[in-house]
């Protein structure tokens, strides 16, 4: 329940039919869109009809009967929530007769409701309390000795909210929220009549049910029946600030509701254009890490990594950092140091880090964690369409007829967008899933994929090219679109290439393991099923042919004309909250912000003029190259902001060896992460709650992050980068992130119209936002491609060098789970561990049986790169010969297994294909794990020295 609620109009806006009707409400005549409920119409003109079961968050239900009105010419008292306005209708909403009926209904409600308002968690924030006052209930003549639903046990199983059936008025808003908004169907009403009761799954505790703890039901509940534990603990909030979530790339906007400086709860913001008032467990509840005692609040330095940390003042730490970097450059050359930007910090902070490196360090050795997730998207889409970002906005899925999801598990990785997609699927859109695993989207309550292509990991290009083969050979392509929007000759070459018999579904079946008929049917459906939209994730990019798959996807979209309007497009589901922003801001070593190559003289001179320094025209080092150079002794200094490459990057040995070879590693983060084990300077960072800035989500939507509390560590991250820059002699004097965004706008053609006042006014803007598109660009490539003509790129299947064999017979692929996030640094420090306390190895019953493995056994997981141990989970979600795990927990070190093979164009690591062997183990951590844990323990010691 939110306190200063945004006005709740009671029913969602009607579907726009363009027609309006004239209606008179309480003497005021007004014209309303056709289909609008009387309740919403009255609310829109400032009236207020009592309501309890209606909220504009879900469809109207008509059960509480408080909102009855009188309509001239109709007998009886229709419910205003379920009665649409009609031409010439005359409505009265406040007659004596209605007041009498409403009091009658309220008297019944309160005859079965506890009367402990003064000590209730929702006191002052409860719609039942409010409506009882509004209708003027003064007496409950039914007494309190009759049948009652009071006195039932409270369910406190969920770590974030309580469920008290005694305070439930059975309005079913929670059931409808779980059904319409989230699409999990975990709730129902049990029994009937007076005994009706809200029931998770089979009348069990919330935690044990299918509930994914998205909080939509808590938000929908009008009473204290479903209420956040924190509200019960500290009382109702007194102010709210709209900000953007710092977890995944969906970019949900929330109202951070505060009591003074204390965050009470995060409630999804209805006006949020990415999440439309919905949330998931992470954004909604898992923000406790911000105040977790693991937060490092004081800067620390040390001469060498085997010494304990020494706490020092900010001045000393900053000065030490600057002098070390200068010393290293003097000794080993200008290119001997570099930096890594964070995909979790703001656009402004990322821009400053790459500015520090280019202006301060004087080289282009800057990279970002996008390297290890969607760098192939950047390369592939810029080659084919001319821009490195998704083509649609999230709303577009509601216009899709066919949805193809390849290499993505949205219900875990992008849950709020997955709910929108499931809404559309329930409306009848058809789904194709291309994934080695039977993800939830393949089949889960009320939705089922039309086609599931369970391909062998690493054969994406073969499957996509085979689909292209079907589309071309069966003439299902959109010739008019191709001739108008692409180069016909290039298409011909591509068409000839894909038509070759060796690329038919039948020919590639031995490689992919995908049934040819299913593949043909899927291709036909995508080509001819109406608006076709492709959504893909790391399952496409994290391969040795990641870039080729992205281009193959783009080819399919162009061939079938599925580009440049609502409901279609090629949509990368980018992992982190600001990975899109990090790429936009020029975090890659070869380009400035806005994807302009460093060798582009015009662009470079613009930056040189603005920054007053000569800039290098040569691309810098990527992360893997930095680590190589470090082990070769030519790369000695690294500045890492908000990244944990030791845990998130592949081939942990290689990363550790590189870091160990450096002379000054500076880590700026919230906690002592794994990379900090090899750091010499630790600069404590700030959370998204403690600073202003912007994030850019997966649909290119730039949204404001607003400071709700003072940073525990004293500085916002951008201030820290400015301190380092000043210490290195740069004349930065930003006083507010809006100035940084103004500089970005001045330097970046796609951002010229992006300024904080516009963002506050519009709520958010999707770049490009400039003179050509003042209000931003929801859908790209309308009428023409950014590069002019869409480019068909021939993509040949080249099998990965990572081969299974007798030593390593199984294929490991990795991924993500709903309750944990990326390396788990944040979510492991919240109550989300209730759902996923440890990484598990999913293994097919057949493979488990052959190895004598039972559910929950300790197993060893070994590849040619390394070994680790974790518990096994036997499931048919994975195919025989394929095993799966997540990389959220450092103690399993999943990335010690992943190898050093990467995407041919961008060095994006091949996380998704690793040849492994799995054996029963006694649970003793592998040698590597033991050495690692020992080193980590030693390196985390902190000598607390009285700060001078």
């Amino acid at each position: 329940m939110t306190f200063t609620r945004e006005t709740d109009h009671g029913t969602p806006a009607a579907i726009n039919t363009g027609k309006t009707v004239n209606v008179t409400i309480d003497g005021q005549s007004v014209s309303m869109p056709e289909g609008t409920s009387i309740m919403r119409a009255a609310s829109l003109i400032g009236g207020s009809i009592p309501k309890l079961c209606a909220t504009d968050h879900v469809k109207s239900f008509g059960s509480c009967r408080l909102c009855l009105v009188e309509v001239e010419g109709r007998n009886g008292f229709p419910a205003s929530c379920t009665t649409p306005v009609a031409e010439g209708m005359v409505v009265r909403t406040q007659t004596e007769r209605l007041k009498q009926l409403r009091r009658g209904v309220m008297e019944l409600y309160i005859s079965d409701h506890p009367l402990d308002c003064l000590t209730c968690g929702a006191n002052g924030d409860c719609e039942l309390q409010e409506q009882a006052g509004a209708v003027g209930l003064r007496d409950v003549r039914y007494g309190y000795d009759g049948a009652t639903n009071m006195g039932q046990a409270k369910d406190q199983s969920n770590p974030y909210f309580d469920f008290d059936p005694s305070k439930c008025i059975v309005c079913s808003r929670c059931v409808r929220a779980c059904e319409d908004v989230q699409g999990t169907f975990a709730l129902t009403i049990e029994n009937k009549g007076f005994e009706s009761k809200v029931s998770p799954s089979q009348g069990e505790a919330f935690l044990g049910s299918e509930c994914v703890s998205c909080g939509a039901c808590v938000q929908a509940c009008p009473t204290a029946s479903l209420i956040e534990k924190k509200v019960v603990e500290v009382g109702t909030p007194d102010r709210s600030v709209v900000t953007t979530c710092a977890y995944c790339g969906v970019g949900c906007t929330f109202r951070a509701e505060m009591r003074g400086e204390e965050l009470v709860r995060m409630v999804p913001w209805k006006e949020g254009k990415a999440n439309r008032g919905h949330s998931c467990v992470k954004g909604r509840f898992a923000w406790g890490y911000a105040q977790h005692q693991d937060r490092i609040l004081n800067p620390m330095i040390r001469e060498s990594v085997d010494q304990p940390w020494r706490e020092v003042s900010w001045e000393e730490a900053i000065a030490h950092t600057a002098s070390e970097f200068r010393r290293i450059q003097a000794k080993y050359g200008v290119r001997s140091i570099g930096g890594i930007t964070s995909s979790r910090c703001t656009n402004e902070e990322t821009f400053l880090v790459q500015k520090l490196i280019r202006q301060g360090f004087g080289n282009n050795n800057v990279d970002t964690c996008a390297r290890v997730c969607h760098s192939p998207t950047g390369y592939g889409l810029s080659q084919t369409f001319g821009t490195s970002a998704g083509t649609q906005d999230f709303d577009s899925v509601m216009q899709s007829d066919v949805i193809l999801v390849i290499g993505a598990n949205p219900t875990d990785g992008h849950p709020v967008f997955a709910s929108r997609m499931k809404q559309r699927l329930r409306q009848g859109a058809k789904l194709i899933v291309v994934d080695p695993r039977r993800t939830d989207l393949v089949k889960s309550p009320r939705i089922e994929a039309e086609h599931h292509l369970p391909l062998r990991p690493g054969t994406n290009v073969a499957v996509m090219t085979a689909m292209a083969h079907v589309i071309v050979t069966e003439k299902l392509y959109d010739e008019a679109f191709i001739r108008e929007r692409c180069d016909w000759d290039e298409f011909q070459d591509w068409a000839d290439f894909v038509s070759e018999s060796s690329r038919s579904p039948e020919a590639v079946e031995p490689l992919t393991g995908v049934n040819p008929q299913e593949l043909r049917a899927a291709a036909r459906l995508y080509a001819t099923g109406g608006n076709g939209a492709i959504y893909y994730g790391l399952g496409v990019t994290e391969h040795s042919q990641g870039s080729s798959t992205v281009m193959a996807i783009a080819n399919l979209a162009m061939a079938t004309g599925n580009i440049g309007r609502e409901g279609v497009g090629v949509n990368p589901l980018r992992g982190q909250n600001n990975v899109q922003g990090a790429c936009d801001m020029g975090s890659f070593p070869h380009e400035f912000s806005g994807y302009r190559h460093v060798s582009d003289d015009a662009t470079r001179s613009l930056f040189e003029k603005t920054w007053g320094v000569e800039l290098s025209a040569e691309p810098g080092l990527r992360i893997p190259n930095m680590l190589d150079a470090a082990t070769d002794g030519t790369f000695k200094g690294l500045f890492v902001q908000g990244e944990d490459i030791l845990q998130s990057d592949p081939n942990t040995h290689h990363v550790a060896a590189g870091l160990a070879a450096m002379e000054c590693v500076v880590v700026q983060d919230l906690f002592l992460n794994e990379t900090a084990n090899y750091a010499h300077v630790f600069l404590p960072g700030s959370t998204f709650l403690e600073k202003d800035g912007t994030f850019t989500n997966a649909e290119r939507r730039i949204q404001r992050v607003r400071k709700v509390m003072a940073p525990l560590n004293g500085y916002a991250d951008w201030e820290i980068v400015q301190l380092v820059a000043r210490a290195m002699g740069l004349n930065w004097d930003y006083t507010h992130p809006s100035q940084i965004m103004d500089e970005i706008a001045a330097l970046t053609p796609t951002f010229t119209g992006v300024h904080y006042d516009r963002l506050d006014e519009e709520g958010s803007l999707q770049w490009p936002a400039n003179d050509a598109a003042p209000d931003g660009t929801p859908t790209m490539h309308i009428g023409g491609f950014v590069r002019g003509k869409g480019k068909f790129v021939v993509t040949d299947y080249v099998p990965t060098d990572e081969k299974t064999g007798p030593r390593f017979p199984l294929l490991l692929t990795t991924g993500r789970i709903l309750s944990q996030y990326n390396v788990g640094a944040q979510t492991r420090r919240t109550d989300n561990t209730a759902w996923h306390p440890e990484d598990l190895l999913e293994i097919h019953p057949l493979d488990a049986e052959n190895r004598g493995i039972k559910e929950g056994d300790w197993v060893s997981l070994k590849s040619r790169a390394g070994e680790t141990t974790l518990h096994a989970h036997i499931t048919e979600r994975v195919a025989p010969g394929v095993v799966y795990t997540t990389f959220h927990h450092p103690d399993t070190q999943a990335n010690v297994i992943t190898t050093d093979f990467t995407d041919w164009a961008t060095n994006c690591p091949e996380y998704k294909v690793t040849a492994v062997q799995v054996n029963l183990s006694n649970g003793r951590p592998s040698d590597w794990q033991q050495d690692y844990n020992e080193q980590a323990r030693m390196s985390r010691r902190i000598e607390t020295e009285a700060a001078e």
Partner: protein, 539 residues
């Protein structure tokens, strides 16, 4: 008396209707079969005090004997049985009826296609299929047929709406949930003349362009379910390409409400849907759906084969055609009496029904099932007509009449009305979910006060101590459990339920409660109030 001689096999007709079986018809049938007779099992004729009935085929036609028991075989076959009735259709109870819908019920073997065809069966369907669908709709409109389930909505208009909806998946649904006490016409028809209902469904489907139909039958009617399934199986080729299936109810009275019924077919909890949208536009699986009661659909074959005027000529005011009235409860001649609208309540109860079976005077009559009003004999002048009953503060409903003699306690019947609503409420809307339970409690207090028992109400937290004062406005002692206060509370609750409820279950429960209170105030301990009937118009 020319009884059948012993040598050639005697042909006898014995009912297999659930009511007949409950009275022992199976044992009688077995006895006649053991005696070598050719036993034909039919539906029930519909007069239950002559069952088990045996009709013997003779040169002069079928001679009926009833009630008969298993060891009366010989006296029946030789014609000497004391309960010889002669031709059953000539008995006054049957002769005065106008059996348009129930013409073949009790006459033919229910699942014999030959019997049905021989008696004009399928003519309505053949005729309909020879006309344009719109013409079929027009015929139903011209007949003046109105919903026999209780709402009385003109059937033709409902069909027109579905007919006009864009082509695509459309459905015809038959509401055979018949949960009202005192009603059994749907059951009798499904068990006695299933092809009539099937033919009606096929005509409806043709008229509106539906491909598939459902018959939703309550689980308390196992005989009707089995007979309908067998009849559908046998007649599938006749009604093709239209296909039909039976869906069993599961013990929820509220699924007699059309939208709860649709939710139930869709595999969901039988919760009532808000309207709009109307089922005719967005019904089963969200598609345009015709949903009508058994009797409404079963009247259609007659309308097509005999002509709309023949149907419309009978009736009273805006209620055209016949209504199969069900006379039940404490009544001598209980059974099914199909007659044109307009006959008075008194004629039905006293002349045709013959007054009470107990011999005691009739004190009250409930018309329209558990949600219908109670009428005293003073109201026996009421003609059987939708509008007339509505004006009198009652309703015809599914035309079930339940007769009570003077031993009835109307306060207990009012309490039962609330108890029934509480037991069957779907729980969705507040007035019904909470109101029905509170209604029982209020009636308990009134009955207790009436019987001078001191109604001790549990006080909250005991006695007049600190807590009772602290609760002040809500302390139990403030609640007046006297008869005037509780009766006023009952009226207020009835008002909230009647005008606040989402559907007729909560909405009509006040009819029996207030009619009992108004016509029989003495049972409610009211100090000599006049018993003017409650005048407010029904919704």
């Amino acid at each position: 008396m020319s009884g059948a001689n012993e040598t050639n096999k005697a042909k006898v007709y014995i009912s297999r209707d659930m009511a007949s079986v409950a009275l022992g018809a199976d044992d009688v049938a077995r006895a006649f079969a053991d005696a070598g007779c050719d036993v034909v099992r039919t539906g029930s004729r519909g007069l239950f005090n002559i069952e088990p009935l045996v009709e013997v085929e003779t040169a002069q036609g079928r001679i009926g004997y009833g009630p008969v028991c298993a060891d009366d075989v010989t006296t029946v076959l030789d014609g000497s049985h004391a309960n010889r009735l002669g031709k059953v259709e000539e008995l006054p109870f049957f002769a005065s009826q106008q059996r348009f819908t129930f013409a073949l019920c009790g006459v033919i073997d229910p699942v014999s296609l030959d019997d049905y065809a021989a008696n004009g069966g399928w003519n309505g369907l053949m005729l309909a299929r020879s006309m344009a669908p719109q013409q079929v709709v027009d015929a139903v409109k011209a007949s003046g047929l109105r919903g026999r389930g209780g709402a009385g909505f003109p059937t033709g208009i409902k069909w027109q709406t579905v007919h006009d909806a864009p082509a695509g998946d459309k459905y015809v649904v038959c509401n055979a949930d018949e949960g009202d006490s005192g009603t059994f016409a749907d059951r009798m028809l499904m068990e006695g003349d299933p092809y009539c209902l099937i033919e009606g469904m096929a005509i409806a489907a043709y008229a509106v362009g539906a491909h598939h139909g459902y018959i939703y039958t309550r689980s308390e009617y196992p005989f009707a379910i089995d007979t309908m399934k067998e009849a559908i199986r046998r007649s599938a080729h006749i009604i093709a390409p239209f296909t039909l299936e039976v869906r069993d109810g599961a013990g929820a009275y509220v699924c007699g409400e059309e939208t709860a019924l649709l939710e139930s077919i869709e595999g969901k909890r039988g919760q009532v849907r808000a309207k709009p949208p109307l089922p005719a536009l967005e019904g089963l699986f969200g598609m345009p759906t015709v949903i009508n009661n058994v009797l409404s659909i079963a009247a259609v074959p007659f309308i097509l084969s005999k002509g709309a005027e023949a149907y419309a000529n009978v009736g009273f005011g805006r209620s055209r055609g016949t209504m199969p009235v069900q006379i039940a409860g404490n009544v001598k001649n209980g059974g099914l009496y199909e007659i044109g609208f307009g006959i008075t309540l008194g004629e039905l109860v006293m002349d045709i029904g013959g007054g009470t079976e107990s011999g005691r005077p009739v004190r009250a009559v409930q018309v329209g099932g558990p949600l219908g009003a109670y009428f005293p004999p003073e109201m026996f002048h009421l003609p059987f007509d939708y509008e007339e009953f509505a004006k009198a503060g009652g309703l015809i409903g599914h035309a079930g009449i339940t007769v009570f003699d003077d031993t009835v306690d109307m306060a207990h019947m009012a309490r039962f009305a609330m108890e029934f609503c509480a037991a069957e409420s779907c729980g969705k809307c507040t007035p019904c979910r909470i109101g029905s339970t509170r209604g029982v409690e209020v009636m308990d207090r009134i009955i207790a006060a009436r019987d001078e028992q001191t109604a001790e109400t549990a006080s909250l937290g005991g006695g007049a101590g600190y807590l009772a004062k602290a609760l002040y406005s809500r302390s139990p002692s403030r609640i007046d459990t006297g008869i005037e206060a509780q009766t006023q509370l009952l009226r207020d609750l009835a008002d909230t339920m009647k005008f606040g409820s989402l559907c007729a279950l909560g909405g009509f429960t006040p009819y029996p409660v207030l009619s009992a209170l108004d016509y029989f105030p003495e049972d409610f301990g009211a100090p000599g109030t006049d018993n003017a009937p409650h005048k407010e118009a029904a919704e």
